[in-house]
Amino acid sequence: MINNKNIYKKSILTRWVSGIIVNQKAFIGSCIILFFGVLAIFVPPFIQSPTDFLSTPLSPPSSDYFFGTNGQGQDVFAQTICGARQTLFIGFSAGILVVIIGALIGGTAGYYGGRIDDVLSLLINIFLVMPGLPLMVILASWLPPSPATLLGVLVLTGWAWNARVIRSQMMTFRNRDFVSAAVISGESNIRIIVIEIMPRMLSLLASSFIGASIYAIGAQVGLEFLGLGDVSTVTWGTNLYWASNDLALLTESWWTFVPTGFCIAMISFALTLINFGIDEVSNPRLISERLWRNKIPKNKITHGITPVSNSNE
C-alpha cells in the first residue's frame, strides 16, 4: 500500500532541483553565486574593516593588502568582499519583489480579465511608459539616501515589465482545459492560481527573477556610482564612486576598480548561465539539439537538409 503523502511530495520542485544540478551551465552559475554568497555572508568578520585607514593611500597590491589600497588608504580587498553584502542583498531582494509584485498584479489581471484587467493594465502601462532611468535618478536624489530608498526605487521602476509578461502568460493559461477542469470541479480561484497555474509558470518566474536581479544590480551600481546612493556605506557601487572620485584612472591605480568591476561581471555572467540552464531544463529539446550538433560532422550540417549518418556508407 502506498502512502498518501508520498504521492503528493513527488512534486515539480524535486524534478527542477535535480534538473538544475545535472545541467552543467546552471550548475556552474549556481556555484559562482553560492561562492559570492558565502563570501558576502561569512567572510567579513574575519578580515580588516573596510572603512579604516590602514596604509598609504593608493598603494598597489601587495602581500599585506591583496588588492592594494584606495585613495582613503582603505583595504580594497575588504571593500570588495564587504561591498558584495549590500549589493547582492539589494539586488536579489529587488529581483524577488519585482517578481512577486509582477505575479500579483499581472497574474490577477490575466486571470480575471474584464474590468479588473482594464484597471490593472492601465496601471502597468502607466509605469511602462514612464522613463525609468530619469525617474530613478530623480527619486534617488530626492529621497533621503539609504538602502531602503534604493530598493524602493529599483522595484518601483522595474516591476511593470514583469507584470506585463506574467499577465500575458496567465491569459494563455486561463483558457487551457486544465484550468476549466479545475473550475468545473469547484476549486476556488485563488487555489487555481496558486496551485494549478503558478507552478506551470516556474520557468518564466525564475527567469524573470534572474533578469530582474541582473537589472537591479546594474541599476543599483549605476546609481551609486553617480553618487545617488548612501556614499557612507560600503557597496560595489560606492567603491566605484570613490575610485572615480579619487581619480583612479589619472593616477593609474587600476586595482581600485578592477576587482569590483570583475565581481559585478562575474555575477551577471553566473546569472545568465543559470538562465540558460533554466531554458534547457524547461525545454529539453535544446539539449537534444546541442547533442545532435556535436554528434554530426560539421561538413554534413546544411540548413534544412536532414543529415545521413556515416553507418550508411
Partner: protein, 546 residues
C-alpha cells in the same frame, strides 16, 4: 511491369536525446509505382510523417537518418548533395503538409504565394505567372478573384484547395499528402478528397497519402501500408486490408470503425436492453443564446454562437449533440457546465424548477452535479500534478472523502475506468501515460463526484482510432451499471449513433434536427443531416463523383 517511382529500403531514423536515441522509424521498406495511390496509415507516434519527411530530408534537428536507401526516380536521395536535394523538392515531388491552416503565410496574398513557387522553381514571373496561377485556381475550382485574398479571408476548405493548387504548381509527378484533411469538417473533407481523385484522373500524378484515418483510405487507395511504432506491420492491396488483413493490429483497426449506414453492428458498444426514462428531465435547457462580442470600445463585431437552443435530457440517457466546427456545440458544453454565462435563456437542473443561470457565482452543488470531460487529454490534465492530485482535489473540495477513505476510493475508480493496477496509476504524472490513459483519468475525474450529468466534449477525437471505441465503452458501461447521464458532443455521426440514444444535430448555433439515433440515421429529414449521414457511410466517394 511498371517501374517503381519511389523505392525505400530499410529506412531508419533516429532522434537524438540526452539518453539513448529514439528509433522513430525502423527498417521501413516499400515501393510506390507510377500512377498509384499509396496509403500510409498509422496512429500518432507511429512514425508515418517521419518517413516522408526523411524521404524529402526535411526533418528538423535532432533527427538523423541512420540507415537506409531512398530512391526517387532513379536518384538516390540520401547520397545526393544538398543542392540536388533542394532541386528535387517541388519539381519532382511536392508535399501537402498537415494543417493547411498554418501552411499559408498570413501576410502574403494567395497570388504572391503562388508566384513565389513559380519564380523559385520555374523562373516564371509577371503575366506568365499570373496566367499559371489562374490555371491552378481553376483546377481546384476556386474563383480567380480570390488571388488577391489573404489566407484569413478564406474558409478552411478553400485554404486546403489552395495548398493543393500550390503543390501542383509545376506539375510534379509525385505528390505527398500528409494528413491533408484532418483539420477539416467531414463534408468538406469528402469534397476535397473527391477533388484530389478527380485531379489525379486528369493529370496522372502519383500520390503518397498519409493519414491516421484508415476508413478514409479504404475508399480510394490502391495499396496500403499500416505502421505501428516505427515499423510497417502490414502492406497489402486495399481489398485485402478491407477484408480484415492478416496482422492482429490491422484487424483491430478495421474492427473499430463504426459506420453510419446499414444495420447496427453488434457488440461494438454495449447498450441497455430497454430504456426506462422518468417523466421529468434531469437537465432542461430553454432558449439558450450566446452572443460573443469582440472586446474594445469601437468594435461592434458580434458572433451569435448559440441561437435559441432548447433540449431535455433524462436520467440514464445518453444524448448525442452532433455538429461541425463552428456549429456552437462546444459553446453549448461550456454553457451547460456554466463555464460561461448565457446571453439569454435558462438552464434547469434536476427538475427542481429553479433557474440556475441567474447569479454570477455558481453554487458548489452545481459544480458537483455537472461534470465535464474535455477533448484534449494532453491539455485537460495539469502536467505538474499526479493522477492522485487530479482525482483527490474535487473529492476534498466537496468534502466527500477524508484522508483514510480517499485512496481506496481512487484506486477503485481508476480500475473502473480500466486503469489497473490503480495504485500504480495514482502515482503517475500525465506525461508518463499515453493519450488514451490520460483520457481515462479525465473520465475518472469527472465521475469521481458521482455527478448527475457528464458533458463529454469530443472525448475521443484526439485519441488513436484503435482505442476510441474502448474509451466510449466506459460511458456505455457506466450508464448501464450506474445509470449515468451523458451529453455526448461530437462531430462524428457514426460514433454518436453507437453511443447515444438520441441525436441532436446542430448547425450554425441552431438545432436543425432531433430524433432517436437509429431513426435519424435511417431516415434523415433535413438535407444537412443527409449530407452528414452520407459522408459517414462507406462508398461516399462514388456518390460524390457520380
Amino acid at each position: 511491369m511498371n517501374k517503381p517511382v519511389i523505392n525505400i529500403k530499410n529506412l531508419n531514423v533516429d532522434y537524438i536525446t540526452d539518453k539513448n536515441p529514439i528509433k522513430a522509424v525502423r527498417d521501413v521498406t516499400f515501393e510506390i509505382f507510377s500512377g498509384e495511390i499509396f496509403g500510409l496509415v498509422g496512429e500518432s507516434g507511429s512514425g508515418k510523417s517521419t518517413v516522408v519527411q526523411a524521404m524529402m530530408r526535411i526533418l528538423p534537428p535532432p533527427a538523423i537518418i541512420s540507415k537506409g536507401e531512398v530512391i526517387i526516380n532513379n536518384e538516390d536521395i540520401l547520397a545526393s548533395s544538398s543542392l540536388d536535394v533542394v532541386g528535387m523538392r517541388w519539381k519532382k515531388i511536392s508535399i501537402v503538409m498537415q494543417s493547411a491552416l498554418n501552411a499559408l503565410n498570413p501576410v502574403l496574398s494567395i497570388r504572391e504565394q503562388i508566384h513565389d513557387v513559380l519564380k523559385t522553381h520555374k523562373n516564371l514571373i509577371g503575366l506568365d505567372a499570373d496566367e499559371r496561377a489562374k490555371e491552378l485556381l481553376s483546377l481546384v475550382e476556386i474563383d480567380h478573384d480570390r488571388l488577391d485574398s489573404f489566407p484569413h479571408q478564406l474558409s478552411g476548405g478553400m485554404k486546403q484547395r489552395i495548398v493543393i493548387a500550390i503543390a501542383l504548381a509545376i506539375m510534379p509527378p509525385i505528390i505527398i499528402m500528409d494528413e491533408p484533411t484532418t483539420a477539416l469538417d467531414v463534408i468538406v473533407e469528402r469534397e476535397i478528397i473527391a477533388k484530389i481523385i478527380d485531379l489525379r484522373k486528369k493529370l496522372g500524378f502519383t500520390i503518397l497519402f498519409i493519414t491516421h484515418d484508415l476508413n478514409l483510405l479504404l475508399e480510394f487507395a490502391d495499396r496500403l501500408a499500416i505502421m505501428k511504432n516505427g515499423e510497417i506491420v502490414e502492406l497489402d492491396k486495399v481489398e485485402n486490408i478491407h477484408a480484415g488483413g492478416k496482422h492482429p493490429y490491422t484487424k483491430k483497426l478495421i474492427g473499430s470503425i463504426p459506420s453510419a449506414s446499414g444495420k447496427r453492428q453488434k457488440g461494438l458498444l454495449s447498450k441497455p436492453k430497454s430504456l426506462n426514462l422518468s417523466k421529468n428531465p434531469i437537465l432542461e435547457v430553454q432558449n439558450l443564446k450566446k452572443v460573443f462580442q469582440s472586446p474594445g470600445f469601437f468594435n461592434k463585431n458580434k458572433l451569435i454562437a448559440v441561437n435559441d437552443v432548447s433540449f431535455k435530457i433524462h436520467k440514464g440517457e445518453i444524448v448525442g449533440l452532433v455538429g461541425e466546427s463552428g456549429s456552437g456545440k462546444s459553446t453549448v458544453a461550456k454553457l451547460v457546465t456554466r463555464l460561461i454565462r448565457p446571453s439569454e435563456g435558462s438552464i434547469y437542473l434536476n427538475g427542481e424548477n429553479k433557474k440556475v443561470t441567474e447569479s454570477r457565482n455558481v453554487p458548489l452543488q452545481y459544480r458537483k452535479d455537472v461534470q465535464m470531460v474535455f477533448q484534449d487529454p494532453f491539455g485537460s490534465l495539469n502536467s505538474i500534478h499526479t493522477v492522485y492530485h487530479h482525482l483527490s482535489r474535487p473529492l476534498y473540495r466537496h468534502r466527500l472523502k477524508d484522508e483514510v477513505t480517499m485512496l481506496p476510493y481512487i484506486i477503485d475508480l481508476l480500475e473502473k475506468v480500466g486503469l489497473s493496477p490503480g495504485e500504480k496509476f495514482a502515482e503517475k504524472f500525465p506525461h508518463e501515460m499515453s493519450g488514451g490513459e490520460r483520457q481515462r483519468v479525465a473520465i475518472a475525474r469527472a465521475l469521481s463526484l458521482e455527478p448527475k450529468i457528464v458533458v463529454a466534449d469530443e472525448p475521443t477525437s484526439m485519441l488513436d482510432v484503435s482505442i476510441r471505441m474502448e474509451v466510449l465503452e466506459i460511458f456505455a458501461k457506466m450508464r448501464i451499471e450506474n445509470n449515468l447521464t451523458v451529453l455526448f458532443i461530437t462531430h462524428d455521426l457514426a460514433s454518436a449513433r453507437y453511443l447515444a440514444d438520441r441525436i441532436i444535430v446542430l448547425k450554425n448555433g441552431k438545432i436543425i434536427e432531433e430524433n432517436n439515433s437509429e431513426n435519424l440515421i435511417q431516415n434523415p429529414k433535413e438535407d444537412y443531416t443527409k449530407q452528414l449521414v452520407n459522408a459517414a457511410s462507406p462508398g461516399w466517394l462514388n456518390q460524390i463523383t457520380k
